[in-house]
């Protein structure tokens, strides 16, 4: 893995940023988020520009697709980039138009509320070994009220025999790329919340000096940056390696821990203004909470990491 961004990567991400400047961002996110809507225009632009094909592209690959997921999420793009850019291509499934739901409920249980569940026409359901790709009838979904940026809904139960059962081992593919993808989404959002906080620490004056000149806060920002850097490289590494069980679980476990700390510290350092809905900080921090509930959260990521390394008994 090359640590320097290649020229191709840079050109790619610049192009993506330009697109996102028009079809995503804080202003645009507030509007569809208020309606709880999926951004079909953004998805279509991403498709036309080829960003949904990065995973299998000769000049790019899974790492580039992961970097793109991070950018889309940082810009609050109201789409489902993880299934579109990572999971569908990793499974070798054709592209799909509109939101795709991901679920990996414990055996015998229905999935809990999922992102964009009320609009999704396709669900990828990871079982113990195989994954099922099943069509969804949005009319059957039950939306639940969400305070966390993404619209949430319980999807209609997938009856056995419904949809296509994919080959053995595909459940692990889904879990691995979902972990990498959700972590990449978190990276993008954490970086934005962090940058906002650092800017605030520089700009705000208290006791006649910059807020960020107080060592108590400097140390905490420095520790956050260690966590973020660690998360970033773990996620890129897992993507580069093809989302194997251990690397993707380790990346997700670390990212989830970083997310917890980042949420607490950014809100603390911003003081009262960061607790208001007029301020942008919550656009990222609230969405981050939805990410950490996915795939069984921290408990499940850690269990998956220890099972991958030491065998199921150790989990």
């Amino acid at each position: 893995m090359d640590f320097e961004r290649s020229d191709t990567q840079r050109a790619l991400l610049d192009a993506l940023d330009t697109l996102l400047g028009r079809y995503a961002g804080t202003g645009r996110s507030r509007e569809p988020a208020a309606r709880g809507a999926y951004d079909h225009a953004l998805e279509s632009e991403l498709r036309t520009a080829g960003f949904l094909d990065l995973f299998g592209d000769d000049g790019a690959g899974p790492l580039e697709a992961t970097l793109a997921v991070e950018r889309i999420s940082a810009a609050l793009g109201a789409v489902t980039p993880v299934p579109h850019l990572l999971v569908l291509p990793a499974l070798g499934l054709p592209a799909h138009t509109g939101p795709v739901a991901l679920a990996a409920p414990p055996a015998g249980e229905e999935p809990g509320p999922v992102r964009y569940g009320a609009e999704a026409g396709l669900i990828l359901l990871a079982g113990a070994d195989r994954c099922v790709a099943a069509p969804l009838d949005p009319g059957q979904a039950e939306p639940v009220p969400s305070a966390y940026g993404f619209p949430l809904a319980r999807v209609a139960p997938v009856a056995s025999g419904q949809g296509a059962e994919l080959p053995p081992g595909t459940a692990a593919t889904v879990r691995g790329w979902w972990r990498v993808g959700a972590s990449a989404e978190a990276l993008g959002m954490m970086r934005q919340a962090f940058d906002l906080t650092v800017r605030y620490a520089k700009d705000r004056t208290v006791f006649g000096r910059a807020l960020g000149s107080f060592q108590a806060l400097q140390h905490r920002l420095a520790e956050l940056s260690v966590l973020l850097e660690g998360a970033r490289w773990l996620v890129y590494e897992a993507a580069f390696l093809g989302a194997p069980a251990e690397a993707s679980a380790v990346a997700a476990a670390h990212t989830t821990a970083a997310l917890r700390r980042l949420t607490r510290e950014t809100h603390q350092i911003m003081g009262a203004v960061g607790l208001t809905r007029e301020h942008d900080l919550h656009l990222w921090t609230l969405r981050l909470q939805a990410l950490r509930a996915e795939l069984g959260g921290m408990r499940a990521h850690r269990r998956a990491a220890s099972a991958a390394r030491w065998g199921a008994a150790a989990a």
Binding site: P113, P145, A272, L275, A293, R299
Partner: protein, 386 residues
């Protein structure tokens, strides 16, 4: 899992009997959501509750008898607001607490006669106008100005107030604001501040909402050429810092009732039961760790109450308690999210709401960093000035 941590140690039989009275009083108010104000309509219910408390003398439990109070130990106030917090029914009102006690210490006999009877009866509600956009932790930076009027139709004997307060809780339904404002030179810091009592319906006062993540509302309160008689200044001109500091000191034992945490934990445990998470040893271990910390905060609350009852300085024990209690409320709220179950995201369920509400607690009422700094300086004499 049973909820077995106890606070009910150390209170007298009479105090425990009072707790019984409070609990039976509360049966008439179940469902009133005045602790969190999740609905704006709660304000009316809270106003009624305060009047009912006032009629029983429960808003003046520890006021001296000469001011019409019951002359009881602060332990009674603690018990009352602790049970109110557990029931999530209401927080202690600023008026009969902080404002009334400050008036008794710093007000004129005329001010006491004018304000105390209605405060005691729960008929007047106050909000606190301290913070400003550029004065939060650094409160001595307050800029809202009260200019003495030398002449003109109203002066002398009047101030004209201009400026803006922000994050003011309850300003949208309170009657008066307890206003910290600048009367000294612009750079006079804590030496040039005064406290005024200003009715919120005075011409030139505008209250506008600031919505917060918990669905609640703080307020911006603007003052444009607002006339305030000097007779409504509490304490001497430019002596407001002392008034504010002493007002803070007398209310610390009810500011953050620890039973709120016990209730938070109870709700979390019930939720892990409903979602089937409570069988997981990782979850159980986390819950037991939280239960230990609830006991810790209850102990810190009682230590603080002891200092207040004995009349010893309480800033440090109050900071210990506020720090530990508000961090814990966040950790309890976070646990549901961290158990990794998207049911925790459903808006306005108990555990979901707790998460959005708890993040406010380490900022409001003095931030965690302010508390830590206070402990370091006041308990250990650590100071950058040596």
């Amino acid at each position: 899992m049973a909820d077995t941590v106890g606070t009910d140690v150390g209170f007298t039989a009479e105090e425990e009997a009072f707790r019984g009275e409070v609990l039976s009083f509360l049966t008439g108010y179940q469902g009133l959501d005045g602790y969190f104000h999740r609905r704006e309509s709660s304000a009316e219910g809270v106003r009624k509750l305060y009047r009912a408390l006032g009629e029983r003398g429960w808003l003046s439990l520890s006021w001296p008898r000469e001011f019409g109070g019951m002359g009881r130990s602060p332990a009674y106030e603690f018990i009352l607001w602790d049970e109110m917090a557990y029931a999530r029914v209401a927080r202690p009102p600023m008026g009969p607490g902080l404002v009334a006690k400050a008036l008794m210490a710093h007000g004129t006999p005329e001010q006491c006669a004018r304000f105390l009877p209605d405060l005691r009866l729960g008929r007047t509600n106050f909000c606190l106008g301290y913070s400003e956009p550029d004065a939060g932790s650094d409160l001595a930076a307050v800029r809202t100005r009260a200019t003495p009027l030398a002449d003109g139709p109203d002066g002398p004997g009047w101030y004209e107030v201009d400026g803006a307060k922000c994050w003011t809780s309850n300003a949208h339904w309170a009657d008066h604001i307890w206003l910290l404002c600048r009367t000294g030179a612009a750079d006079s810091r804590s030496r040039g501040l005064s406290v005024l009592i200003v009715p919120l319906d005075r011409p030139g006062v505008t209250v506008s909402p600031i919505p917060t993540h918990d669905g609640g509302r703080l307020n911006e309160v603007r003052f444009e050429g607002v006339r305030v008689p000097a007779a409504d200044r509490v304490g001497a001109e430019n002596d407001g810092w002392r008034v504010v500091a002493s007002a803070l000191a007398v209310e610390r034992h009810v500011q953050f009732p620890p039973k709120r945490l016990r209730r938070d934990l109870r709700d979390l445990v019930a939720w892990t039961g409903r979602t089937g998470l409570d069988g997981d040893p990782v979850v159980r271990r986390r819950l037991s760790g939280l239960a230990v910390r609830v006991a810790e905060v209850e102990a810190l609350a009682l230590a603080l109450l002891g200092e207040i009852i004995s009349g010893r300085p309480s800033a440090v024990p109050a900071a210990h308690h506020k720090l530990a209690g508000t961090l814990l409320t966040q950790d309890i709220a976070r646990a549901a999210m961290e158990f990794g179950n998207s049911e925790a995201l459903i808006k306005d369920s108990d555990v979901e709401f707790m998460w959005r509400q708890a993040i406010l607690e380490t900022i409001g009422g003095g931030t965690s960093e302010v508390m830590r700094g206070l402990v370091a300086r006041q308990a250990f004499g650590l100071d950058s000035r040596g």
